[in-house]
């Protein structure tokens, strides 16, 4: 019988050796800001996982808040690939790309006021009172929406796919078309919503468009992963004349250009998706420079690349988003205008854009 007990004892051994780690993880704290934060962080999330989030930062209190949407809306997730945000009147329009929607929230409470269904939206820009344009990826459509009734009122069809960013110029919207087969930006009459003209860039796949302090236009083109070398075109929007053109090295992949508060220095990120140190970091150039910068103003290191860039229009501080591979919560680094690091804080997955409340 002793032998039988021994067998049973051995059979029961695993019962005493399991359960080493408590399985239930701590519940993440979601907080809403007590006052008005001055910076919002658009966190894309991880594609296909529905975990885009909106975070906020109060620079005076050095406090981070998030996930704002979930906190204010009964723990509902915002959606998949939170691409951009824009304030129109008393609402923030949150563009959630892979959830095919724009979520409209109140600027004070962050509670959802409406949603607008649009396939693969990217960016939104108010063109007139009660009216905004929404660009999309994978299609050639720019949607015209009514920002009061939250409905789609019209569509504008571009000659090529992937309408991306828009800027306003003298009663017109200038729309880029991030299509590797295209090299034009399109001039749309914001009253008639008709394309009236187009302007040729020096490189294909125009992506980002900005206006400098001289009222001139800078267009960043290219799609390095798809073999289209990046170019920066400086042009006069009144005539369409190209004033200057800069071609990046073929391995450089510049993204997310922004101007400093005085609109005379252009900052952009170069992202090495393959994890190297070449063409990695934050670069800057004066609008009067005649060549692209060759060394980073703030260098990235191996296996790290930056993905979000913003400059506070009030104090000129530089905010940089590090997505840490898009597989974990991102970090935001804060630098002084002279390039010295001040602090860092943790945000949601994949910080992609900054929105400064003072910029509205």
């Amino acid at each position: 019988m002793a032998k039988e007990y021994r067998k049973i004892l051995i059979a029961l051994l695993p019962l005493f050796s399991s359960g080493c780690i408590k399985d239930k993880p701590p519940v993440p704290e979601n907080t809403l800001p007590s006052g008005k934060p001055d910076i919002y962080i658009v966190c894309e999330g991880n594609y296909g996982n529905g975990n885009g989030t909106l975070y906020a930062y109060n620079s005076l209190k050095d406090s981070v808040y998030g996930d704002l949407y979930s906190s204010a809306n009964a723990s509902q997730p915002l959606g998949d690939v939170f691409q951009s945000m824009t304030r129109i009147d008393n609402h923030y329009f949150l563009v959630v790309n892979n959830s095919n929607k724009i979520v409209v929230v109140d600027t004070g409470t962050y509670r959802q006021a409406a949603t607008i269904s649009i396939p693969q939206p990217r960016y939104i820009l108010q063109t007139l009172a009660g009216k905004a344009y929404v660009t999309t990826i994978w299609s050639s459509k720019v949607y015209v929406i009514n920002t009061s009734s939250y409905t789609v009122s019209d569509t504008i069809i571009l000659p090529s796919r992937n309408p991306e960013t828009i800027c306003l110029y003298n009663g017109y919207a200038l729309v880029t078309s991030w299509d590797t087969a295209d090299k034009y930006i399109y001039k749309v009459d914001i009253h008639t919503d008709k394309i009236t003209d187009s302007m040729a860039m020096t490189g294909r796949a125009p992506q980002e468009i900005l206006t400098d302090k001289e009222g001139l236009i800078w267009v960043l083109s290219g799609d390095q992963p798809l073999g289209k070398t990046a170019t920066l075109t400086h042009l006069d929007p009144s005539t369409g004349a190209v004033l200057d053109s800069f071609t990046f090295p073929s391995l450089a992949d510049p993204i997310k250009p922004v101007f400093n508060p005085t609109n005379d220095t252009l900052y952009f990120i170069e992202t090495p998706f393959y994890g190297g140190t070449a063409y990695n970091g934050i670069y800057r150039m004066s609008i009067y420079d005649k060549a692209l910068p060759t060394t980073p103003f703030i260098a990235g290191v191996a296996n790290q690349y930056f993905y979000a860039l913003g400059i506070d229009p009030v104090d000129g501080k530089i905010y940089i988003g590090d997505p840490r591979g898009f597989v974990q919560q991102g970090l935001v680094y804060v630098y002084r205008p002279d390039g010295t690091k001040i602090s860092q804080f943790q945000v949601g997955l994949g910080p992609g854009h900054f929105y400064f409340a003072a910029a509205q």
Partner: protein, 639 residues
Amino acid sequence: MLASTQLLCAQSKRDTPLKEINVKASKPLSNDSKINYFSPGQQVTRLDSATLAAYQFQNLSDLLAQKTPVFIKSYGVNGLATLNIRGSSAAQNQVLWEGVPIQNAALGIADLSTLPVIMMNNVSLVYGGSAALWGSGNVGGALVLENERASFDTNSLHFSLASAAGSYGQTMYSFKTSITSGKWFFSAAYFGQNALNNFWYTGLTGLRHQLTNSKLTGNSGIIQLARQLDDKSSINLSAWYQEYDRQIPPALFESASYKYQQDNSLRLLGQWHKGFNHLHSIYFKSSIIKDDIHYSDAYVQMITQNTCYQYFQEAGWNHKMEKYGMFEFFMPVQISWMNAQNPTVKGNVEQTKTALAGSYAINFYRHKLELAANCRQEWLNNTPNFTSGANASYQFPWWLKLRANIQQTYRAPSLNELYYYPGGNTSLKPEQGWSTDAGYSLNFFLGKLEFKQNTALFYRDIHDWILWLGGAVWTPQNIAEVVSRGAETENKIVYSSGRGKITIGLNTSYVLATTKNSYIPNDGSIGRQIPYSPRYNGQLNLSFETNYFTFCYNETYTGYRFITMDDAQYLPPYQTGNFRISRDFIYVKHGYQRCSFQLSAQVNNIWDQQYQVVAYRPMPGRNFLVGLRLNLHYFTNKI
């Protein structure tokens, strides 16, 4: 007799005065010598024919999720389902059909949701990496699939026809046959299925929705023809074709989906075996596989076509040396390629793995102590890579078997990881590391109760773990060192009497798979559980069987799964119950003919749990399936 033994119990009925006896008989775990002879110290779970029959209308992902302590990462209905053994990634496990790796060469993974159980006669799960024995990709373990072993010198016919229908428009139909006539053997199996999968689920806002864009049509057929050339040699040809048309339903964060995927696979295999005497034998196998995936998303006007090919051949020589054990030398060659027509690669891409491998097994004390050692020199294109390993088992006393296993392991990057456009990374290094485990098997009787237990403790350390990172462009990178350790148990108590058999089974798994080091600056994943690798996982299986009646109940528990590398986001545990009942009607005309019907009914997710295995992919609630199977057996004496 070198093979692992199983205990076959012949027990007396209650009204007979005979004392019960235990008959110990040799029964090979597999047709594969790598399992039978060269893995005595590795934990191997073989799913018996009764279990496979009970899952005849389901796919391998359901079978493994409910019957083994592994985690199946399922992206919901019509979605990908991959294997996670001991915290491995999907690409770190091999799926082998008759010894041939059948993972998609581009993806490096096999979708278990498209592998019907009925296609196979033997399914074995080998835990723990052993790249020296099985080759690149064997990090977590291997799923070994085998067809019916060809038998000769009889005249026999086996035929079964089955059909099932159930909730959400499920219909399935299958047939399976094998014919032996003298020196010839032929077998065929077919499985077809259709489903609407339009079940109701709870959306993010708490409202109920009906799943859309979720239709499935699948066809899978396999034929095998074998000829005995002489007393010691035979040739065997097999062809396996399958096609799956599946709509991909929307994730919870999508209002609608227009995604569609079509998978076609053709696998051809030829095998030749010749024995010279009882000491020598040689074999050769050659296989070519074409995998075709067509994916479209009408919503965003995206269409991709991905076709990849794989050629595999292996020649081997097995020599038994009477008192000095057995060795086997084999030379596997695997060539994978994609041509320039694929929009996902630029130009023709190819990967060649050529290897020289040797395994040696010896036993002492009349098979009480079994030892095996393996080594392999593999050239990945032209880059050499040496792996080795050893394992042992010791049976002491008869009811207790101790096992130990230590293996080097590695995985070469897949074609997509190297060449996918855009994002592929040609400078990726292979994942490599060590895998060790130890454990024991218990098997003893207390009266009419039989106790079986397998317990394993494991530790695995993998360097240069490959992970896809990125936002706009996803790129695989060697990012980390990941350590997995934990324990698995498989417990079973069987009560047998003349009237029937009651079985209680409990499988448990505890896996701590954490990032130890990382190349990513400020990485928040250090010390954290890797995504989609539950720490706790278990199944309770109850069954009651008589000659005509079977009742089975399965309860599966899966613990928290983290979504992110820093464990900031996670999914709650889920627990599902599955119930199956069947009744056999057996008609025997005379000794050589047998005809039977089986009527079965099953309820899956009986407690109607609303759960997700992968974030935002709803799983079906309670659903029903009723099936009917006809079996015919005809055989004569040996001719």
